[in-house]
Symmetry: C2
Subunit: 305 residues, 2 copies
């Protein structure tokens, strides 16, 4: 099934305790589309880049079979640039520089040939723009939305409006607590689901993720990565793996949502192994499914006879 | 197989956002022995109580079939008393009062009929006393040790000495980081295992627990308890369920250690449902195994065909 991805395409400057890159391809739509491209060959990207966007990066998307009909090029400025520095524990980062550039005027226009997409990834952009995307598509089967504290603070009403139209919200634990105004994570999940989405994923970083559906909870483990090289893009890679799997299987049952959470976790675990999207350029099917089996083994509880 | 439990027997005063009790039975040996008594009928307790210890509480232990030959009564003072207050998030507590009383002079003497115990629980007491217990027993098959930041700070050398003689160390994540002097939890686990124990469990509170054995890692989920009434004793209940299961099955394979972690988690999840050990007085086998199955369902990753 076809997959529509809307989000940022960017250049990132990244400092981690293990090294530094001045400028590397980044952005939510980049990570979501690269990772989902390993699972389905109908990936359609919507985003905007500036006059500095390189042919080499265009070629990277193309080499992964990603449709760029919806990638606008705005020659009036440069591509969105973000620079951040991760600390030793890698859970915290400081933003050193943000240049919105052409992304400031981003107006997501969905090409005609994307409008019948069945699966939709709304990357972390302004909630009103996320809703604008939904206004343009025909009859999606499953809409997944990401957001962040920034929008929960600045645009709570627009966010809650969009939330009523999505099937699955993917946020981290602090965002869930803030959105629900509730410190207990289980109660926060209940409150967030009452806002609209029929499923909710709460990412807990090194502690894995929780999937809430109508009648059950699934607790997914985190992959025990000893050497996280660069956490940039891990959350978007999670979303890309998840949605790629759903689009590929066209099955949104709670059982298959569990699988999608693990495929997402697999992609996130690969993402952090190299700077930027480096590791996501050359994955093999065997690597992906081998790691899926590692996740199964990691959390397998033997029966009691 | 017989199980020897050494630790504190106490009275606790507890304040939580949900209520308050002035004085209720507590202590590590209490929680470990009550929970393990549901799994094996050979539970042997070593501890000390003072002149104020009630007949009713003695009867509680006896009603659960717990052998009290090793429970010393010291009429020169009162029983160890601890008073604490939990905050709204229940992850933090303030100690309001600590009266060591007769526990200050606790000298664990192992009765002759306990010395051939095959499974040993060293509750959270001074590391040199834990070692003294090991000096008195004959040939235990499996020794499990708990400790806390207090001993890591105050008696690191004694602790490391004892650690060389135990098979499994059970600590929480902050203790693991402190003991290893390493913020990355995976690296901390490696370092702690290099200190002696062949298995390590790191408890992560609301995020579950990790079991490290020679060649594998097991990630156990936390039970999604919406209403934690009183967290007192949860860690000791975990240890009691775990060791009770191992003593019952007499199987210390990695697969069965996984089961023991879940039985421990089951007991901890019951413990927090009422004040003190209230919920641990009247569990049924059906409740225990039903909750075990809930844990399995909670973290089951479906196969990919």
């Amino acid at each position: 099934m076809s997959l529509l991805i809307v989000g940022s395409v960017a250049y990132d400057g990244i400092e981690t305790p293990f090294g530094e890159v001045e400028r590397i391809l980044g952005g939510s739509a980049t990570y979501i589309s690269l990772t989902s491209s390993y699972l389905t060959n109908q990936v359609n990207l919507v985003g905007v880049v500036g006059k500095d966007f390189s042919d080499e990066d265009i070629e990277l998307f193309k080499s992964r079979g990603i449709n760029l009909d919806g990638l606008q090029r705005d020659d009036s400025g440069n591509t969105f640039f973000w620079k951040g520095k991760y600390h030793y524990d890698l859970n915290n980062r400081d933003t050193l520089d943000t240049q919105l550039n052409v992304f400031e005027r981003f107006d997501p226009v969905i090409p005609e040939n994307y409008k019948n997409a069945r699966y939709i990834a709304l990357g972390n952009i302004e909630p009103s723009l996320q809703e604008k995307v939904l206004d343009q598509v025909e009859n999606p089967r499953f809409v997944v939305m990401d957001t962040m504290n920034f929008w929960i603070d600045r645009a709570p009403e627009a966010l809650k409006k969009t939330l009523k139209r999505v099937h699955l919200l993917v946020i981290n634990d602090s965002e869930a607590r803030e959105l629900a105004q509730e410190p207990n994570l289980m109660k926060a999940a209940e409150k967030v689901m009452a806002m609209g989405p029929e499923a909710l994923i709460i990412k807990k970083g090194e502690h894995g993720a929780l999937l809430f559906t109508e009648n059950e909870i699934f607790s997914a483990p985190a992959y025990p990565v000893i050497d996280i090289f660069d956490p940039t893009g891990a959350g978007d890679s999670f979303m890309g793996g998840l949605l790629g799997w759903l689009a590929y299987t066209d099955d949104i049952s709670p059982q298959n949502l569990r699988r999608s959470v693990i495929i997402g976790s697999v992609m996130a675990s690969f993402c952090v192994e190299e700077f930027g999207p480096g590791r996501l350029k050359n994955l093999t099917e065997k690597e992906i499914y081998d790691r899926y089996r590692e996740f199964r083994n990691l959390s397998e509880i033997p029966e009691i006879s």
